[in-house]
C-alpha cells in the first residue's frame, strides 16, 4: 500500500499543473455558459440552460459541428491510410530514401497558420498557383474556396497533406519493430505479398495504428489555425469549425456565455468519444 501512495505522489506535479491551468478554467467556463455575459461588461445575469437549447437550433452552429466531425474523422482516415502507404513504400532501402522521408515530414514542422497562408497563395482565384496549372492546360480558372463544401474539403486535404508525414513516421517506427523472422514462415508457405501484409504486417502494426488514430483525431477535432488563415470560416459561415465558431461567438458576436456553452458541449462530445474509443480498443485487447 505504501508503494501505491508514493507512486501516486510522482504524478502530482503534472496533475497540479493540469488542474490549475486546464480544469479550473474549464469549470469557470461552465459557470459562464449559464449566463448571458457579453465578454466584457462588468455585469451579467443567469439564464440557466437557455444557451444550450439555442445551440441546437442554430443552423450555423450545427454546420460547424458537422464540419468539425467531417474534418476530424476524414483527417484520421486519410492520414492513417496514406501514412501507411507512404511508410510501406519508404520502408524499402534505396538511395535518397531518408531525404525523401525528411521532405515529407518537414511540413509537419511548419505552423498550420503559415501553411494556411501559403495555401492561400496556391488556391487564390487571381494569380493562384493552382489556377496557373489550369491555365497551362487551357482550362478556365476556378474560385476554389468559393463553395463551402469544397472549402471544407480543401481544409481537410491540406491538413492531411501537412501532417501525413507524422503518421508515416509512426508507421515506419512500427514496421522497424517487426522482426524479420516473422516474414520467413509465410514466405516458405508461398503466400503472396498482399496476404503477408494482411496476415502479418497489419496485425503487428496495431499499436502504431492506435497511436495514429488518437493523435489524428486530436489534431482534426481542434482545427483552428488553418481555417483562420485559409478561409476565415467563409464563404458565409460554411467552413467554420467549432473552434473558430467559439472564437467568432465570443469576440465578434459578443456572446461569451453562448460561446462558452459551445465549448462545454464540444468538451462533453470529445470526452464521450474518447471513452468509447478507449473501451473498443481495450475490448479488442482482451
Amino acid at each position: 500500500m505504501r508503494r501505491r501512495r508514493s507512486l501516486y505522489a510522482m504524478a502530482l506535479p503534472a496533475v497540479i499543473l493540469i488542474i490549475a491551468f486546464v480544469f479550473i478554467p474549464l469549470v469557470s467556463g461552465i459557470r459562464i455558459s449559464l449566463t448571458d455575459w457579453n465578454g466584457f461588461s462588468q455585469s451579467s445575469s443567469f439564464v440557466g440552460l437557455r444557451n444550450y437549447i439555442n445551440l441546437f437550433q442554430d443552423q450555423r452552429i450545427l454546420n460547424s459541428i458537422k464540419n468539425t466531425f467531417y474534418v476530424g474523422i476524414g483527417d484520421t482516415i486519410l492520414q492513417c491510410v496514406f501514412g501507411l502507404l507512404y511508410a510501406l513504400i519508404l520502408n524499402h532501402k534505396f538511395r535518397g530514401r531518408s531525404a525523401i522521408r525528411a521532405i515529407i515530414y518537414l511540413t509537419v514542422m511548419v505552423s498550420s497558420l503559415i501553411m494556411g497562408y501559403i495555401w492561400y497563395f496556391i488556391v487564390q482565384y487571381d494569380n493562384g498557383a493552382l489556377n496557373d496549372i489550369l491555365a497551362f492546360f487551357g482550362l478556365d480558372p476556378v474560385d476554389w474556396l468559393g463553395n463551402g463544401k469544397r472549402a471544407v474539403n480543401f481544409i481537410l486535404c491540406i491538413n492531411s497533406m501537412q501532417f501525413v508525414g507524422q503518421a508515416m513516421v509512426i508507421y515506419l517506427a512500427g514496421l522497424q519493430g517487426i522482426p524479420r523472422e516473422m516474414y520467413e514462415a509465410p514466405m516458405i508457405d508461398g503466400a503472396t505479398p498482399v496476404q503477408t501484409f494482411f496476415r502479418i504486417t497489419l496485425p503487428l502494426l496495431k499499436p502504431a495504428i492506435i497511436t495514429n488514430i488518437t493523435l489524428k483525431l486530436i489534431g482534426g477535432l481542434q482545427m483552428y489555425d488553418l481555417v483562420v488563415a485559409l478561409t476565415g470560416g467563409g464563404p458565409g459561415f460554411s467552413s467554420h469549425t467549432i473552434s473558430t465558431m467559439i472564437n467568432y461567438l465570443y469576440f465578434d458576436s459578443q456572446n461569451a456565455g453562448y460561446s462558452a456553452s459551445l465549448g462545454v458541449v464540444l468538451f462533453i462530445m470529445i470526452m464521450s468519444a474518447t471513452i468509447i474509443v478507449n473501451k473498443v480498443i481495450r475490448r479488442n485487447e482482451e
Partner: protein, 414 residues
Amino acid sequence: MKRILYVLTLVLIALSAVYAGGSNEESGKTTLEFAIKETGSTLEAYKQIVDSFNAEHEDIKVEISDYGKDYQTLMKTKMATNDLPDLFTTHGWAVALYGDYLYPLNDRPWAEHLFPEIRSTDTDREGNLVALPMDIDITGLVCNDTVLEKSGVEERPSTLSEFIAACQKIKEAGFTPIHIAGKDPSDVAGLFSRLSLSILTMSNTHSYAEELLDGTFDWSCYDEVGNFVLSLVENGYTNVDYLTADKSGTYRGLAQDKVAFAFQSNLTIAEVRKLNPDANVSMMEIPGYTEGDSSFLISGERDAVGVWKDSEHLEEALEFIDYLAQPENVLLVAQAYSLPPSMDNAEVTDPGILEILDQIKGSVVTNHFDRMYLPDGMWNTLKVYGTSVLSGEMSVRDGSMMMQADYERLRNNA
C-alpha cells in the same frame, strides 16, 4: 521523493529567474502603456511623437503596444477584466464601444480647436468628449479613372443608374467593374453600409433617415439594398472570387488597371500607389439614389486616442494627451495617412490634403451608416448579413428580418 523535491526546486528557481528577468521595471519612472491599433505609417508617426515625448520627460516613459489585427479582440478581453492600457486608440469606436471606459476630455485646453464635424463624432450623449481625434477620415468609393476612360465612360457616375450603366460598359470592355474582397467580411459590410446610405438615407425623395433614427424603420425596405447588391453580382459586375478574394487582390487589380471601383478606404489608394505609383486611382463620391440626388462623401474618425478613466497614472496620461494634441503632432499623424487634421490650428501645406479639404467643402458629407443609424454591435450583424446574402446562405428577405431582429434587440439594450 527527495530527488523529486530537488528537481522541483530547481525548476522553480529557474522559473523565478526567468520571471525576474522579465519584469525589470525602472525605478522612479512612471510607465504608461499606449495601445495602438493602426499599423504602417500611422504607427510610425505615433512612435516618433512618443520618442520625442520620452526624451523631453524624465519621469514618464510611454511604451507602445501594437496588437495589430487582434486589437479589438484583446481590448474586449481587457474591458471584461477592467484592465485597459493607460492610453489607447479608438479606431472609430470611441463613443460606441469604449465610451464607458474613457476619461472625458472636454476641459482640455486644445478641445476648442477641434473642427465641429469631428468633435461631434467623439462626443457621447451626455456631451462628454471621450477621445482626442487626430484627423478627419474621408471615404467614398475608390475609383480607377484609367479603366473608366478605356471603357468609354466619360464622367464618373453620380447616380446609381449611371453607376450601373458605367459597370455595364466597363464589363463589356473586358474589365472588372467592382472588386469585392469578401474573404474579409468587413469589406462586404463596407459595401453594404455605403450603398445603404445612398439608397435609404441620402435621397431627397426616398429617405428613411428619421425612421431609422427613431426606431420606426420598416425593415422590409432594406430588401432594396440587398437586391441592388445581389444584382451587381448576378450581372457579373464584380470579380468572380468576390467571396474569397483578399484585399491584396483589390490592390493588384487596381494597380494593374484591371478594376474600376472598390468600396474601400484611403488605405487602398495608398497601397495601390506602392504597387504602381502611376496608377490613376482616387476617392470618388458615392452616387446618389436617383436623378436630382447629389452624390456624397462619408466623414468620420479614423485616428483618435482616449485615456482610460481608471488609469493609475491619470495625470501623466493626460499630460501625454495634451502633448499629442499639439498642432504639429496632430498634423504628423493626420498626414501619415494623407488625411486632413482634426484641428483648426494645424496648418496644412500638403497640396493633396488641401485638395481633400476642398473636396469636403464642395460636397455633401455624412457619417458612416452603421455609426449614425445603427445601434452598437450591428457592424457585426452587417458583416454576417453581407456574407450570408452574397454567398446565398440567406435570402434577401431573411437577411432583412435578421437585421430587424438585431436592430431591435441592440436598440433595447442600449
